[in-house]
């Protein structure tokens, strides 16, 4: 058993659940998973939310989050079963032999302590290095991970460095005690797409340079394809497929794996502009109250009836602020918004009921956009009462029509949001927006919080509904794959300005400006060796560095 670094045999994991109307009880969330990792190799664990990938990753450190318990099987690390060893042995394992990189470095660093103290803490406490040696090694790792000013960055506090930098610091934290295995739990998911590939490259280089083995957990097959040697596909706590990365990407055997590989394959023909746009944003400049710098600088875009304008950019580029101006939540300082042939009042209070009805919104977090104490029927019925005065049987008939349109059906009418899956919640939000019979729906990152396959379903639904209802979408996203799938025209935003704007084909065809080039090339592709190609062909540094 000692030839393999990590060997997991028939691992079963349980958790206590607290359903709303039942007694708390235990369920099994991982049903007998087996895999192994050799020294210096990287195994990718991939699956959608609820697949149990993080749970399995943490089990390799004999750790269960919250009420999670390991109920069966064996986890062998360096030739001993860590589920059967003493507490002090488990402590020596964690932070010594196996270390962990979490999804959100921003939350995983203690805000009250300097980065250096946190990076070296495990190595010093485990007795692997003296403080001086540990700090020297940390600086060496900062340098390898491409952090600016590696000598001094450790003296800063976590809030003093950017998100991408902190994620690299977290990787340094994990590598500092010279572990045998690192568990990377979605380390780049929370980052902007252009920052993601830098961090990904840094992680890959660090793995190569230190010869450490790794478990790389992610929901994004294109990302894991860049760093892994083998891939294990998981679904609802079961193993679906396990094999070398080449085979999984190029010759998947199982249907589920095939679906994951072919995700983002929606095709959408660009439509020609019409003579009369439904939305016309002219010379809009805006700033937040009490600040002295413009978040939006002279924005000019148009959107035609029944079409989709995609607004893309990284976090902080001003794309959500544009939505706030159009909806009247943030009155612009300059410029005007024309909608359906009329000028919209700057602030919300000055808008008429008809303006509100024809301009609807769908949000990123469907969870918090619905009242958890209202049924699906009440939620969708509200705009029907408010705008059309529908009551009783008439209202119910219309609600059922809408539920059919979002492919859910009458049986959901009395359910509460908590009883729905993430994709279903977003569908209810779409139905609520449609109930008002709007001319324009602003979709703010509506698929960002969803798993890829579910997101695909939502995008298909939005496209179908557009054909039926002839509604226009202003689609805000950071994800260029989504843009390619659904847009008719595209506005690329960067630091409050529209840097590129036009029909989809034009915007996505060369020659590119540097920023659009960076953005486009950063979208992970399901292709081995993609990462190295991109890095070597780049013209511009990403903003997150």
């Amino acid at each position: 058993m000692s030839d393999k670094l990590l060997k997991v045999r028939d691992l079963k994991i349980g958790a206590t659940v607290y359903p709303p109307s039942e007694k708390p009880h235990d369920i099994e969330i991982v049903h007998g998973v087996s895999f192994e990792v050799e020294k210096g190799k990287v195994l990718g664990l991939i699956g959608e939310s609820g697949a149990g990938k993080s749970t399995i990753g943490l089990a390799s450190m004999a750790y269960g989050r919250g009420g999670v318990k390991i109920t069966g099987g064996e986890v062998w690390v360096n030739g001993r079963d860590i589920l059967k060893t003493s507490n002090s042995d488990v402590r020596a394992l964690r932070g010594g032999e196996v270390t962990y990189v979490s999804q959100s470095a921003a939350a995983s660093f203690n805000p009250a302590k300097k980065i250096m103290d946190q990076v070296t803490e495990a190595a010093i406490l485990q007795g692997k290095f003296s403080r001086k040696d540990a700090e020297r090694r940390a600086i060496e790792l900062f340098r390898k991970l491409g952090l600016p000013d590696p000598e001094n960055i450790g003296n800063r506090y976590p809030h003093q460095v950017s998100g991408g930098q902190l994620q690299r610091c977290m990787t340094a934290l994990a590598l500092c005690p010279e572990p045998d295995l690192v568990v990377f739990d979605e380390p780049t998911t929370a980052l902007d797409v252009t920052t993601q590939i830098d961090v990904l490259m840094a992680i890959k280089e660090a793995i190569r340079a230190t010869g450490v083995a790794a478990l790389y957990i992610t929901h994004d097959l294109a990302v894991v394809a860049q760093v892994s040697d083998d891939i294990l596909v998981l679904k609802m706590g079961d193993m679906v497929e396990y094999g070398p990365v080449d085979q999984i990407i190029n010759a998947p055997q199982e249907d589920y794996t095939k679906a994951l590989v072919s995700v983002r394959s929606i095709e959408h023909e660009e439509k020609a502009p019409t003579p009369e746009p439904v939305l016309k944003v002219q010379n809009v400049t805006a700033r937040y109250k009490g600040t002295n710098f413009d978040v939006l600088k002279n924005i000019n875009v148009e959107l035609h009836p029944g079409q989709t304008l995609a607004v893309v950019g990284e976090s902080g580029s001003g794309k959500s602020t544009l939505a706030r101006v159009i909806t009247g939540l943030l009155p612009q300082n300059n410029g005007s918004v024309h909608f359906a042939g009329r000028d919209l009042s700057k602030d919300l209070a000055g808008r008429k009921k008809e303006d509100l009805r024809e301009l609807q919104m769908i949000y990123q977090m469907a969870d918090v956009a619905m009242n958890p104490r209202q049924t699906v029927g009440t939620i969708i019925g509200r705009p029907l009462e408010l705008y059309f005065g529908l009551r009783g049987a008439e209202k119910r008939k219309r609600i059922i029509e809408l539920l059919d349109e979002i492919e859910m059906g009458e049986s959901f009418i009395d359910r509460y949001p908590a009883e729905l899956s993430g994709g279903q919640k977003q569908r209810v939000c779409i139905a609520r927006a449609l109930a008002a019979k709007p001319k324009l729906i602003i979709c703010d990152e509506v698929t960002s919080a969803l798993d890829p396959l579910v997101a695909d379903g939502i995008l298909k639904l939005l496209l179908d509904l557009q054909k039926i209802e002839d509604v226009a979408y202003l689609f805000i996203t950071h994800d260029l794959a989504t843009v390619k799938a659904i847009a008719d025209s595209i506005a690329v935003m960067y630091q409050g300005e529209v840097v590129r704007y036009g029909g989809k084909t034009d915007v996505l065809s060369p020659p590119f400006d540097d920023y659009t080039d960076l953005l486009l090339s950063s979208v992970p592709e399901m292709k081995l060796g993609w990462l190295e190609d991109v890095i070597s062909n780049r013209k511009m540094e990403s903003a997150g560095n």
Partner: protein, 318 residues
């Protein structure tokens, strides 16, 4: 750094403003109190002429606004006025009492604050297990029993039966520090029991709140011992709420211990205040009230300042 200084300056200015407003309240409050000092000094048999003369001499006939500003002007120069009943300088008689009160409060705090925090840490370490439940039960019981009862029970067992410490705790300048501490050991113990629960439970709650954070999981996955995690990672992030409660309790130790002073006949501020309220000696009452208010506002200001300074985002801006 400038943002930090600005916040601190704002907080201190606010404290001073508050103190000024409180001085108005205290003055107004004592004016509308029923009773008459002149009557109190001269007794029931005094003639109306004698009462009128005394009132005029004491300045009780001046308009309230004028009396307030002459009082405030004196305060700003450190002059608290003279006692109506004894004719002594108030600042002089209060300073000794205040010294005694602060002495008792200081030693009670030195023992109770670290003890409360340590018990809070232990309660978190053994959360929902017997040490946690024992600590909670004992501290809650001690805060629930009226303090005079605890005091008398302590006197009965410790002073009367065991004869370990005196029940009458009058201290004077000729005593050494050790003698003084021995003399006041019983009130210290009782006060500690009274203030322990509040601080302990706040420490426990504040740390438990922080224990949900992702960085605690990071620390666990570094293989740290639970107590190291609580002490090094959780406690520094829960200082602000803990300091707030600690300061409230310190303020209580200064301004709220009149019952304990009476039970142990300890010559502190509380007893002094109560004596002069019953004598209608308004300048003394006003001075005591203002000192208590200053202590309260000052300690809460310290709590706010510590909370501000404890925030790494303010201490180390980008």
């Amino acid at each position: 750094m400038s943002l930090l200084l600005k916040l601190l300056a704002q907080r201190i200015a606010l404290g001073l403003l508050l103190l000024f407003l409180v001085s108005i309240l205290i003055f107004a409050g004592t004016i509308i109190l029923p009773g008459d000092v002149a009557q109190q000094i001269l007794g029931q048999s005094a003639t109306p002429e004698a009462l009128a003369n005394l009132r005029r001499d004491l300045g009780l006939n001046d308009p309230p606004l004028q009396r307030y500003f002459s009082w405030l002007g004196g305060l700003l120069q450190g002059d608290l006025g003279t006692s109506l009943t004894s004719g002594k300088d108030i600042a002089e008689s209060i300073s000794k009492r205040l010294g005694n009160t602060l002495f008792l409060a200081f030693w009670a705090a030195i023992i109770s604050v670290p003890l409360a925090i340590l018990l809070g840490l232990i309660a978190v370490r053994y959360r929902e297990r017997w040490p946690d439940k024992l600590i909670s039960a004992v501290t809650l019981a001690s805060i629930s029993v009226p303090e005079f009862l605890i005091a008398y029970v302590a006197i009965f067992f410790v002073s009367v039966r065991l004869r370990w410490a005196p029940s009458v705790t009058t201290i004077n300048d000729s005593m050494s520090l050790g003698e003084k501490l021995h003399t006041i050991s019983l009130p210290i113990a009782v006060l500690t029991l009274v203030v322990l629960a509040h601080m302990m439970r706040m420490t426990r709650a504040a740390i438990l709140n922080v224990m949900q954070s992702a960085y605690i999981e990071t620390a666990e996955l570094k293989g740290l011992r639970m107590f190291t995690i609580i002490w090094k990672h959780a406690f520094p992030n829960s200082i602000a709420p803990v300091v707030n409660v600690v300061m409230l309790n310190l303020a209580y130790l200064v301004v709220g211990v009149v019952v304990i002073e009476v039970v142990f006949t300890y010559p502190g501020m509380g007893q002094f205040l109560v004596d002069h309220v019953s004598k209608r000696d308004i300048p003394v009452v006003q001075a005591c009230g203002l000192i208590f208010a200053a202590v309260y506002i000052g300690l809460n200001m310290v709590a706010d300042i510590v909370s501000i300074v404890a925030n790494p985002r303010l201490r180390h801006p980008k």
